[in-house]
Subunit: 421 residues, 2 copies
């Protein structure tokens, strides 16, 4: 199992493209396509929000009722959410035109949108964009990168990941891209994620692997607690690796699940670290919890706490806010019995300078119901690193979970007070 | 039932004081006392956080096991939370000294703290503060105001309310004060609230009236979603109005509940409007919901949404975020069927100028699954008023609820990144 440089075009037979179709203002890229040369098994998980965007409704239908999918058309700039019948019609027109231009079945076209809620997408811009995407789509590293850039909104960097492993002596590749920076509190998961693979696997197992893995990856990310109307994570498997199709939960399925987890976790962490206005990736790892579900609830409560997030931005070891967030999570525990640690990774963002400061560092900050004997100065140094981790030892069992968020900054407010302007 | 100018000294027989005891840095007021000349029935509701501050544990014991309470000693600056056995001992020493100096029973002394979590309070400063408070405490408007100022932390204004009504031909007065600006998401209920009244009522009915009313008042407020370790709301009733004691849910009980609701709601709204960094009070009123509980969940989900709060700060009618927050609240509904309105009150903060712009204004922004035909300019004007309200018509039943929050601003981040510095 090795990580490789790549995205949605890393697996065999997948092509992609990104272009500027004029949906965003100015000449910024805002449309992408993913295309497989052969039909794919498709799996998807979608927002739990009662208010679902039109593309979510469209894709749920395709994933549930079509035997195969072969293309995904994605736009940024307008979310096509809260757009009524006209919004759904836009999805249909998108699928029609893509089917025609890519020579695939209409019910094999998935669509995804991200951007402002409540505006209608100008359909003529979408159809013109499809013409261009069909013309320029291609295999190769650069095509995947173009697609990853075209789906960004307030993201500051594009997000891709890929792994390779062997099954039946065949090389299998799994690659993905995602976008997401604000309105991020996936609960499936305006997070859009797309994973492509050349593995041969049954549709049922593909869906199950995805459904299980998001619980520990995308669903453990929060930027602002707002679960979007558009969250979508799709996996396309086209079978071109040439392995015998996986149809039971054998060792090969285990390998696929491990690979999927690596790609999903890598993408999820990239999303959290690039949260709107973020200066740091903020991770909370809960260990020795009674149950996996309690570990998830506790870790997510900490990374969602506005006060804790603001303290991380201020490099302030205000651990009382962490204990407070654990306390209101809904999980019962004895505060006197737990322990807290701060860990930091990476090179301090300020000044660059001495690389020896960039080594992993760890201090205990709380035990026996009160502050541990730590140095505020050292705590502040750790909290100034680009990856900050809180480790919570519940000392109650042997389950653990990890959640990812970011700090709360002036720029988060600025971005979201001005978003539509 | 009439609102009057007043606070915790408005009711007969109550005295108060505020002083600077040196717990906060510089010479800012940081200690207050409330004292009744005769013993009071006491009721209290406290934080639901598993991590409870020492004063919360102390007060729960007094409210549950003491027949009477007669004094409350409050400090700001240090929360006495996550302080272990030493923290509880500080509460005991506070009660001992107050009992001695005020000539009341030790188990009739309530304590409350707000401020930084995890630090120990210097007990000698508390005892010296009690000496001073005992010396200067008095009746009258000014004494109540001093106490209200002394319990502030990041609050920018002190918060008081009082009402008067008649029972059995006797004038009954109810007055209160509260503090709270950050770590505010009461779920009883660092919000501290204190209500005093001269009504004669049984302890059981006093507690029940309080427990029921906070569901629609303090528990419907959120500044940042963080439920504090210290939330405390206490009511003291000393019976000095001279009415026959209320011991059943008669008409007089109904009058008391109405008065309590007015004081609690007034204090709760003042707290929300003075949320850390806030420039506007942000209210969400859900009408025609199926159940009261669903109305509460929906309204609270909107005022808790970081994205919606940032949009209010930006005076941006980004109603998609409101619909999104309703959608992930956990309540099921048909998004095509609901309607949204913006309302605004008060004089525009900018410029002052023309008072005729300060009249109440209302526009419809969403119906039939899509944007209503409104003017963005008018929406922006309404969202620039100091009190902004979203009205959500669920069209599903006849229940309603109201929740109060504030906008999310640069100053919220600044205050909380720097809080301990």
């Amino acid at each position: 199992m090795k990580k490789i440089d790549g995205g949605v075009t890393a697996a065999k037979g997948f092509e992609a493209a990104g272009t500027a179709a004029g949906i965003k203002y100015k000449d910024r890229k805002d449309m992408a396509v993913i295309y497989s040369r052969v039909p794919c098994k498709a799996a998807g998980v979608f927002t739990s929000n009662v208010v679902k965007a039109a593309p979510v409704l469209w894709d749920k239908n395709v994933v549930e009722h079509s035997a195969y999918a072969q293309a995904v058309v994605i736009n940024a700039g307008i979310a096509n959410a809260c757009t009524g019948a006209a919004g759904y019609d836009c999805c249909k027109k998108t699928a029609e035109r893509a089917a025609q231009r890519l020579d695939v079945s209409e019910d094999a076209v998935l669509v995804a949108s991200t951007g402002v809620i409540g505006m209608q997408i100008p359909v003529e811009k979408i159809t013109a964009g499809i013409e261009e995407l069909a013309r320029i789509k291609s295999e190769g590293r650069e095509a995947g990168r173009m697609a990853a850039e075209a789906i960004m909104t307030t993201d500051t960097v594009s997000k891709e990941a890929a792994v390779q492993f062997e099954i039946d002596g065949k090389t299998v590749t799994l690659g993905g891209m995602c976008k997401g920076s604000g309105m991020i509190h996936p609960d499936m998961c305006t997070m859009l994620g797309f994973v492509t693979t050349d593995i041969a696997i049954s549709k049922e197992l593909l869906q199950e692997a995805l459904r299980e893995d998001v619980k520990d990856t995308f669903n453990m990310v929060s930027v602002d607690g707002d679960t979007s109307t558009n969250d979508t994570l799709l996996v396309l498997a086209n079978g071109m690796a040439g392995n015998e199709e996986i149809t039971s939960k054998d060792e090969r399925y285990g390998q696929f699940v491990e690979a999927l987890h690596i790609v999903n976790e890598t993408l999820a962490k990239k999303m959290a670290g690039d949260g709107e206005g973020a200066t740091a990736l903020f991770e909370t790892r809960v260990i020795h919890a009674r149950t996996k579900e309690e570990a998830r609830i506790l870790s997510k409560s900490v990374i969602c706490s506005s006060l804790t997030k603001a303290a991380i931005f201020g490099h302030d070891a205000n651990w009382g806010r962490i204990l407070c967030a654990l306390g209101y999570s809904g999980v019962s525990f004895d505060p006197e019995n737990i322990e807290l640690f701060f860990e930091g990774e990476g090179n301090p963002s300020q000044g660059g300078g001495n690389p020896s400061q960039g080594m992993d560092r760890r201090i205990q900050i709380y035990k026996d119901g009160a502050a541990a004997d730590y140095s505020e100065e050292e705590a502040t140094q750790i909290l100034s690193l680009p990856e900050v981790r809180v480790v919570v030892d519940m000392k109650m069992g042997d389950c653990e979970a990890c959640a990812w968020g970011c700090d709360l900054t002036y720029d988060y407010v600025k971005i979201n007070a001005d978003y539509r302007s």
